[in-house]
Amino acid sequence: MIVGLVAGALVLAACGGAGDTTGDDVLVSAASSLTEVFTEIEEAFESATPEIDVVLNIGGSSGLREQILAGAPADVFASANISNMDLVADAGDVEGDPAIFARNRLEIAVPTGNPGSVTGLADFSRDELLIGLCAEDVPCGDYGRQVLQRADVVPSVDTEEPNVRALLTKIEAGELDAGIVYVTDVVSTGGDVDGIEISDDDNVYADYPIAVLTDAPNGDAAAAFMAFVLSDEGRSILADHGFGLP
Amino acid sequence: MVGGAVNHSTGLDAHLVVSRGEAFTLDVSLSIPAGHTVALLGPNGAGKSTVVAAIAGLLPLDEGCITLDGRTLDDPAGDVLVPAEDRSIGVVFQDYVLFPQMTVVENVEFGLRSRRVPRRSAHEQAMRWLDRIGLGDLADRRPNDLSGGQAQRIAVARALITEPDLLLLDEPLAALDATTRVDLRRTLADHLDQFAGPRMVITHDPTEAFLLADEIHVIEDGVITQVGTPDDIRLRPRTPYIADLAGSNLVLGTASAGIVTTDTQHLHIADTHISGPVLAAIHPRAIIIDRHQPDGSPRNTWEATVTRIEHYGDRVRLQTGDPLPLTAEITPDALSDLQIVEGSVVWISIKATEISVEKD
């Protein structure tokens, strides 16, 4: 009797699982820095096309890349840098061509009130400050190191966070004195962190590509989503959040 | 000190009052002079383990006082409480409680090592004790590998080696089988005799109490119901429990004009003057058993069914049932002559003069 109940539950669960990916669902794997902007884009898209439900899978771009390469059932991939998209394309997982839909720049983030008295990139070599960067393989980490290299600064790093949001949270909490994040991240906190500009000479432009994936369970809806992101409405939402536009 | 206990400068003086919840209060006084053995005899649940724990220092008193050789060990009123490790009381526990992860010799030397005796000296003393009791070759064994008798003797050695001021033995022979028990009873009696201080044996076995003790204190439901020598206890039992132990029949009733009335029976007694609540005692051998209704002088006769027959060597004890359950003692010859088996119906007769009566 009990065995019957358990077996029944397992069958139902299995059936339920299979059902989730059919129908008009689009699974979008998007970089952490796109959290707020893609949430707004998701709402706008769903009200425009109510029969399609968008599911956001947010994470560090390199982690998302590994998921896709391992066969995760994603429909769309929006990465914070081109190299991650290239790796996915090289494996033959990209349908058609990726398109750049946004640009971002980097900024120094410090806790409100700037307790570490940080004025610029040079302060990143100060030992007594607690400095955080994103992990090297995450786009934000890669860009951050490029920026520091251009400014000729050898940073005294205390932690390498797995994604930019984790880094931001620790800066917000005052547990770190400074870190390098995206301009859009500083905007998204709505004043919970202070930003210090990085000069154009040192700064790096981050190009964000988006693509539909070849094994997408719902290719048509995926294409529709990608088109929306590249549309005027999508671009206006991106601009509102501080992204540059190609 | 609370009144009633005599102050000795040696020996144990104790007045113990301990409440264990609503249901049970222990209130006993006892005194044991040096060189004497007292047995605390009672049924299970009477409070014996509470007495052991209180005297050993494992349970504080609620009221009362304990002094040993003039030293106050526990006096709630005076706010004195000496912890167990400072009381110098040697305890042999029921089931011996030998430390399982230590060897026999480590067990025996434990008391000395705890008192900072250097390792080598403690070891030598322990080995000497073991050799003296003939168990030297067991020194490196674990308690798990010992027989009951061996464990008992080692537990006694462990307690005695520290030369305590009082020896407390809790059911020292209860865990042993009948033959071992008889053997070790003699050894134990010797140990006790050789011990200079006061000694207390706690037991539920009357034979143990009778054979080991100079004085027996009977405890029932947390109070002492009789104190006396083994003969006192056996010949003049004061409660049904003690009477059962000693084998006598004890009946409670109300006396009036030569008749004791119990719940179920009238007994004719010789004493016509006594009246009021009484304790009537009938010795098992004074009960006459016959198959037929007797004629003649006995005025207490009735028919009863034999509910149990027990053989004790050259004696046979019969338990009879309603209207008044009694234990009678007859010879094996009489048993077979009368062809009595369990379930047989017999006639009981008791002479009025054989019933001794005491005011309750």
């Binding site: 560090g60 390199s62 982690g63 890349r65 590994e66 607690l130 955080g132 992990a135 090297e136 393989d137 995450v138 790093v157 205390d158 932690t159 390498e160 966070e161 797995p162 984790a166 620790k170 909490a173 005052g174 547990e175 | 724990a53 050993a56 220092g57 494992l58 912890p83 167990a84 490790e85 400072d86 009381r87 110098s88 009381i89 040697g90 305890v91 526990f93 409680v97 430390f99 399982p100 992860q101 434990f110 008391g111 705890s114 008192r115 462990r158 307690a159 520290t162």
Partner: protein
Amino acid sequence: MTKRATSWDRRKRRPPVVLVILAVLGLSVFVIPLLGLLARTPWSDLPTLLTSDVVLDALRVSVVASLGATAISAILGIPLAWVLARVEFPGRAIVRGLVVLPLVLPPVVGGAALLFALGRRGLIGEPLNEMTGLVLPFSMWGVIIAATFVAMPFLVITVEGGLRNLDPRYEGAAATLGAGRWTVLWRVTLPMIGSSLAAGLALTWARALGEFGATITFAGNLQGRTQSLPLAVYVAMESDRGAAVALSLIMVVISLTVLIVLRHRWWGAL
């Protein structure tokens, strides 16, 4: 006559088929992922990977932190277990609940809580920093603290269980023989709960070794300083699969070795 007896005996001894099938399925839950790991191992690159800086640094951090966490758990946990088992005080049930809390709390939540309490701007961390300049996160101490937080409950619970099952008469007997409280604890109580203690230490160490969520949230992630084996695996998964597998293999080998060596005590106490 003889033939019939043996076949009847054999039938009695074979376990029921359904039970065996379920048992094999149960075993596969543990074995199949392990096989997957072994299948992906880059055997030819293994020696270089195993001696690379990333791996050696992570190994050092993990060993130091897990042993440190175990030691702290023992020093603080045994007394706590003793109090919970032996002392009756109001609110004991609540205290016991608090001790078990890290077991049910998601480790990241634990890490966040540690950050809010002991971080630089934390409830206790801030005054601590102002007075002594000490910063706990982003340091080896942070890793040890995070690991202690999640692992100590194991020690407290197994030791408390052991103490409860201990017949108090042994400690009573030791007292009557003249042993003071510390002697009783050291020579009687602790040896008698030896197998519970060993199992508790093994579980604690294993949990401390595998800790990830609290560590990355509280202590951060920096190779050589706070990047333990689990953190290194996580980071490597996104860049260098080969290194990730090598690290995972090390963890499996270490854990299996210790657990197999302790198997007698393990089974005895659990």
